[in-house]
Amino acid sequence: MMKKSSDASVFRANFFVVWTEVAKNMKFLMAYPVIFVFWTIFPFFWFLTFIFQGQAIVGGLQSSSFAEIAGTPDYIPFIILGAILNGYVLTSLYGVGESIRREAYQGTLDYLLSSPCNKAFILIGKAVSESISSTIYAVIQLVVCIVFFGIELTLGVIMPIILILILMILGLYGIALMLAAFSLQFKQAHDLAHTLEYVFYLFSPVRYPVQALPFWAQIVGKFLPLTYALIAVRSLVLLRQNFLAIYEQIFLLFVIDAVALFLGFYLFNWMEKRTKKSGSISQY
């Protein structure tokens, strides 16, 4: 009986940590409305250049050569879906991965790490708040793209897309946890985040299908959750395939999530102990 009550209070305490972290980050977001406007509007500018490039090179809105490897001649919806999902990569790497470093800049890292709670739940709170804000941006972008770029989204694919997004976010936050762990020890989180962003930028099919890459680069792409999420979402939305056609991608996303989350939590706890012992937590 005592054990049950203790478990419940631990659960409540951890939930409170997550909830407080979410509320804190949402307050930050609301305090800087310009950041909200930026993340909603500027991703359009980033993919518009690819649309104009496509029009200049192909001379139209469809490319038969593109269809041979992407399965669809419409390169604009392909690019747009890639850009929207890639937004989650940016917010996970820079939002969660760098969050520990940001606490150090704000002078609050020592207090956070000396608080009597499991620090992983602080990171979970940061990840949840980043997921909420990223999803708000993604939904706004998607609505604009449905209206202006003719992307067709049926009700039947919405639930599978939500499942894919959740799986992708879990995998990305596993990677972000590893990044946060390394930033505790090596401090230069921004450089690590940039380097990881390059890996996603080059090897995942954000702007082109993975088949366009050399074989070794395709192998690298297979370790990224974004690769499977993009293949699955595009199969549902652009190629009009059913859920059964993407079971392989879903299964591989599960596997990547399990490995990334396990490694992320393990590394973070290990690095936290290590930096506490060495006394290098608040060093720059």
Binding site: W46, T49, F52, Q53, S65, F66, D191, Y208
Partner: protein, 298 residues
């Protein structure tokens, strides 16, 4: 009071001021020292330095791969040929993209120079020195231009080795002259951005915003003619569009410029306009933030 100072061994230093050769030399020295300081900070983080040197190549590759995928692996585009007289997308995109890094120099390195000092905790110390704040911005710009040039050289080497480039060697000198003219105007633009970063505390949004807009309005991977008319007109206000068109005219065989008129004259006018405008806004905002006491606020 004088007696006390004499006792402490204080030495009175007279700083050169106004329009004099001594002051110019002092400001040039300040620019050089700022540049050296930036290099020392940068080289203290070798991984960061290496990453930034390969960055131009990393950002160029997806643009090239995307273009090649649209054409089924071929680098020749009939549509581009009709628009600008050349169908080689690799050479076209590459000559456009080498400019992009220098736009980043203007909006990030210069735009963020003052704000960066605030992060380091050295802004107040710098502000009380008898040096022009512009020298600080220009010192950071000098470092960033040299740094960007290193990255561009690496990019040229890799792209030339992997894809090969069909460039006219005799066009390199006039293209460099156009590039130099563009850099003066971008310098004025960067000073303007740095003054905005003084007022707006989330300065990275200003830099990223202008960077994104310039990316669209510059004919990096596509000719200006694919843009809506209003965007084509807006692009003539910024130095990158005429500079890119001018450079390509000298570098690429059979290239048909999409902007009519004398590119050199166009850039000279933009140089004067952006430098005067940038310095004017910088002094106005500098004086405003000091008067309002908001300089050190985040």
């Amino acid at each position: 009071m004088n007696k006390i100072e004499e006792n402490r061994g204080l030495e009175q230093v007279s700083c050169p001021v106004g329009l004099s050769l001594a002051n110019l030399k002092a400001e040039l020295r300040a620019i050089w020292e700022c540049n050296i300081k930036e290099w020392k900070i940068e080289l203290a983080y070798p991984i960061n330095f290496t990453r930034q040197c390969i960055e131009p190549l990393i950002f160029l590759l997806p643009i090239l791969v995307y273009g090649l995928v649209l054409l089924g692996g071929s680098r020749f585009s009939e549509s581009l040929l009709r628009l600008v007289g050349t169908g080689d997308i690799v050479t076209y995109t590459f000559t456009g993209y080498i400019i992009m890094g220098f736009i980043g120099t203007a909006v990030w390195a210069m735009g963020f120079s003052i704000r960066k000092e605030q992060w380091y905790g050295t802004l107040e110390s710098i502000y009380v020195t008898p040096t022009s704040r512009l020298s600080l911005v220009l010192g950071m710009a000098l470092h960033s231009v040299v740094h960007q040039s290193l990255g561009t050289l690496f990019e040229v080497g890799v792209i030339y080795a992997v894809f090969g480039l069909a460039l006219r060697i005799e066009g390199i000198l006039p293209a460099l002259a156009i590039f130099a003219l563009m850099m003066f105007a971008l310098g004025g633009f960067g000073i303007f951005i740095s003054s905005l970063a003084l007022i707006f505390k989330e300065g990275w949004i200003i830099s990223e915003g202008f960077h994104s807009v310039l990316m669209i309005l510059s004919p990096v991977a596509y000719p200006l003619t694919v843009l809506p008319t209003i965007a084509q007109q807006a692009s003539t206000v910024f130095p990158t569009a005429p500079a890119l068109v001018g450079m390509r005219s000298f570098l690429i065989e059979n290239y048909t410029p999409e902007i009519l008129g004398n590119v050199f004259l166009h850039l000279l006018v933009l140089d004067a306009a952006w430098i005067v405008f940038g310095i004017l806004i910088f002094y106005l905002t500098d004086s405003y933030v000091r008067k309002s006491g908001t300089l050190g606020k985040y």
